[in-house]
């Protein structure tokens, strides 16, 4: 039973079989290598290596870290999207005599990696990126509480993103036990390959990054708000982020522990979740969903916050009933801990337990409805401007209410026994995640000028929006229907007599529409970049915004605020503009010295060593794991001795940069 018994002292479990030899591992490896070579060539040709290192890789500036998050998430979205397309096309083809183009095992790996990549590396990455870019500006601070930890968080996330794709190059097969690696299927006995180990360590690396990020943002929001910004004067995006990060710090440790325990089963031959020696499988399922349910709200709360900002800005009104919006977000945070069992009503916990969790699940609809109604009432009587973010917002409202209704239906244990693990469930949670994705698109189109200095192209944006909205319904309405017809999820093949094929084909067509929508998004970026002079945001306040991020230039100077803003009300910038309408606040009376964090490569080094350790543990290379761990610890110790981590930007320099910027504007 000991998994160590067949390992080589140097290569561990690795053999020549681990090298790419299947069409998709060879293809994946070739694609990644060519991309890497291309990037390296461009960097060498234009002598940009030093620039890349100094300005980006070692940066502790949240504005740059945020952009790096967005880049990694976009790449991962491409990767996860390919997975989705392969699945839907396989399902459209593989009825009756046709087996489609994917083997059953490959299909299982695809749905596993699709789920993990979309949740951990797309949705989480986009939100952390936007929070890095916008949150400090909104609460009137220059930086996060711990700039170095922020850099480390990003690099752990990036290491996790690379790690989940590493099996293409070394390993040959990914986990094939669903995105949460359910036991006992994910135990060594049934999944003897390294796929599950790659899954586990990818989640541990990125999960540690998320956890550190959560702590960082909580301390930032609690401790670093501008003078005068009380908690009840915070913008709703900051509130939503705070709630989301509270969920991160209380839910992600559960994931860390659960995945670590599963890995102990596999690595040391423990019997925590095995089906013999007294292990308890439902313990794992409980733990993973104790994280998994709050995770849903971790993803959706920041989207809510963004929509609150957007709907208020474009309705030219204060948000309707701010206090109840905060209350709803806090209530969602609390109730999200109390509903995890609805993911497995069929476990057999009995009618009373299921009843309580079913009722708790339905309670979630109340704060959600409070938010939706408050958004609608904010628009009522407002002078609504239909800019691009509003399109995404309206689309989100439709989708989210639709998916929410399906969720309330699933929350009834009796209905759930029929719909458990059917495509109805799959369609439901994709609807909710799509709401979060619409939030990401809305947020990016809202804040893009703040990040890049020019606005996004509206025409291509609207095309993208309509393609996404239509594509979404064409993909998922058939899946809801199939679920009612009894189609279970994760089928790579089904009998033709079921009559499901036309609906699966419709879903595949919907996917193609979504691909066109993604193409439109890329076109939007290209078109915006080409017309960047025309779209240039000169004022820093293109939407007549209400919160502090619009009070600084677009993009902001690296120190953001020349002088710390004074907050006198809930809509700090709006009120400042009203008080001094001509400028929105001229140059401050005097400048002070600013303490700025220095760049450091330590985040990159520590993640590199952590990556190496994880890789060694996947392959049971004990010596390499020791080496990696020693390296990571050494880096942490070296960092703890570093004293020169900050520098002072003199007031005179700030005054000079500010004066130059003003001259540039005029």
């Amino acid at each position: 039973m000991t998994p160590n018994s067949v390992t080589d002292p140097i290569f561990g479990k690795m053999t020549l079989d681990a090298l790419p030899h299947l069409w998709y591992t060879v293809g994946g490896t070739a694609f990644v290598t060519l991309m890497g070579l291309g990037v390296a060539l461009v960097l060498t040709r234009y002598r940009r290596w030093g620039w890349l290192w100094r300005e980006w890789l070692t940066s502790t500036d949240p504005k740059k870290i945020g952009i790096m998050y967005l880049i990694v998430s976009s790449l991962m979205m491409f990767r996860g999207g390919i997975d989705a397309g392969m699945m839907l096309i396989q399902q459209a083809l593989a009825a009756g005599g046709s087996r489609g183009f994917l083997s059953a095992d490959h299909f299982q790996q695809i749905f596993t990696s699709h789920g993990d990549i979309m949740v951990f590396f797309v949705a989480m990455g986009f939100f952390f990126g936007l929070m890095n870019l916008i949150l400090p500006l909104q609460i009137g601070t220059r930086d996060l509480a711990f700039p170095f930890v922020n850099s480390l968080s990003f690099w752990l996330y990036a290491a996790g993103a690379v790690f989940i794709n590493l099996f293409f190059v070394i390993g040959g097969s990914f986990a094939a036990a669903g995105w949460l690696s359910v036991v006992p299927l994910s135990e060594l006995r049934y999944s003897p390959g390294v796929g599950i180990d790659y899954w586990a360590w990818s989640l541990q690396l990125s999960g540690l990054g998320t956890l550190l990020g959560g702590i960082n943002f909580i301390v930032t929001i609690i401790k670093k708000r501008a003078p005068g910004m009380t908690l009840m004067r915070m913008p709703l995006f900051a509130w939503a982020s705070l709630c989301s990060m509270v969920l991160v710090i209380s839910a992600f440790p559960v994931l860390t522990a659960a995945v670590a325990l599963l890995w102990l089963d596999r690595f040391l031959g423990m019997h925590l979740f095995t089906e013999s020696f007294g292990g308890n499988q439902m313990m794992y399922i409980n733990l993973i969903w104790m994280w998994g349910h709050p995770e849903v709200y971790i993803l959706v709360l920041p989207a809510f916050g963004m929509f609150s900002e957007i709907v208020s800005t474009f309705s030219r009104k204060r948000i309707f009933n701010y206090a109840s919006m905060v209350g709803a977000a806090v209530f969602i945070t609390l109730i999200s801990y109390l509903v995890w069992l609805h993911h497995f009503f069929t476990m057999g916990a009995g009618a009373d337990v299921n009843g309580i969790f079913g009722a708790a699940t339905m309670l979630v609809a109340i704060p959600m409805a409070v938010q939706v109604l408050n958004w609608i009432l904010t628009m009522r009587g407002g002078r609504i401007v239909f800019a691009l973010p509003m399109y995404w917002f309206i689309g989100f409202l439709v989708i989210f209410v639709f998916g929410g209704m399906a969720g309330v239906l699933l929350g009834s244990p009796a209905a759930d026994f029929q719909l458990h693990n059917t495509l109805f469930l799959v369609a439901h949670f994709h609807t909710m995640i799509m709401g979060a994705i619409f939030g990401i698109f809305a947020g990016i189109s809202y804040w893009f000028s703040k990040i890049a200095g020019f606005r996004l192209d509206e025409t291509w944006g609207r095309r993208a929006f309509w393609l996404w909205l239509v594509g979404f319904f064409v993909t998922f309405i058939p899946l809801y229907t199939l679920g009612f017809m009894g189609a279970t999820r994760r089928l790579d093949h089904y009998p033709a007599s079921t009559g499901w094929q036309p609906l699966y084909a419709a879903a595949a067509i919907g996917f193609l529409i979504l691909v066109c929508g993604s193409g439109a998004l890329v076109m939007q970026l290209i078109a915006s970049y080409r017309r960047r002079r025309e779209y240039r945001d000169r004022t820093g306040d293109p939407w007549d915004g209400r919160t502090l991020e619009w009070s600084v230039a677009s993009p902001p100077p690296f120190y953001v605020f020349a002088a710390s803003p004074e907050v006198r009300g809930r809509e700090a910038f709006w009120e400042a503009k009203r008080a001094r309408p001509e400028t929105g606040g001229g140059p401050p009376a005097r400048y002070d010295d600013i303490v700025m964090p220095r760049n450091t490569g330590m985040g990159l080094y520590i993640s590199g060593f952590a990556f190496l350790t994880a890789f060694a543990l996947v392959w049971h290379m004990v010596w390499l794991a020791g080496l990696g761990l020693a390296g990571a610890i050494a880096c942490v110790i070296v960092r703890s001795f570093a004293e020169d981590t900050e520098y002072v930007l003199p007031a005179s320099e700030v005054a000079r940069i500010e004066a130059a910027a003003r001259a540039d504007d005029n």
Partner: protein, 192 residues
């Protein structure tokens, strides 16, 4: 300038509290797993047969005393008495190392008696929970060594005191977790 510096240290202490809460959640999961699996001995030895209460009491006394000496070190570094801070940290280190040595001794004794982590779900969860605590103690000892070196060479600067304060917090936290381990793992094995 000085305000900014002290505010930074205050932030890191607050951040460390938040981190401790996340670690507490990890231990909560391990405790829950142990409690669910503690009777799943699969025909193997139970806690009642395996655990020696006097040995666990000795470990507890070592760790509780180390928490007390860690408190004495905290009094010293807050008053700026450098040598005394190092001495008390050294005593804490010795007690912590003695605890860890005893724990590792207990583990190897169990493994030698055929009660390793592969024997039953109960033993797996025992090693996972108590091992995780031991791992934390090892990290704490390494950290303590670094802090002692920094106090020795750098003196009690604001940054070093902040680091030492966080270490003390960590050490007391591990003590609290151990009290629960002593109760839930060792004492309760006598009850059932």
């Amino acid at each position: 300038m000085e305000n900014i510096a002290t505010a930074g240290e205050d932030d890191s202490l607050f951040g460390f509290w938040v981190y401790l809460m996340t670690d507490l959640v990890i231990f909560a999961v391990l405790f829950a797993t142990f409690t669910v699996l503690r009777n799943n001995t699969f025909g193997g030895p139970s806690g009642r047969e395996l655990f020696s209460l006097p040995s666990a009491v000795t470990e507890t006394l070592l760790l509780l005393t180390s928490s007390f000496t860690c408190g004495l070190a905290a009094v010293a570094f807050r008053r700026g008495v450098r040598t005394r801070a190092i001495i008390w940290f050294a005593v804490t280190f010795a007690l912590g190392a003695a605890f860890l040595a005893r724990e590792l001794g207990e583990f190897s004794g169990l493994a030698a008696a055929g009660a390793g982590w592969q024997r039953s779900a109960f033993l797996s969860s025992f090693f996972a929970l108590v091992g995780a605590h031991g791992l934390h103690i090892a990290v704490g000892l390494l950290w303590m060594a670094v802090v002692m070196v920094q106090i020795w060479f750098r003196g009690l600067s604001a940054a070093v005191v902040s680091k030492a304060a966080r270490l003390a917090l960590f050490w007391h936290f591990l003590d609290v977790v151990w009290i629960f381990i002593f109760s839930v793992v060792y004492l309760m094995s006598r009850l059932v």
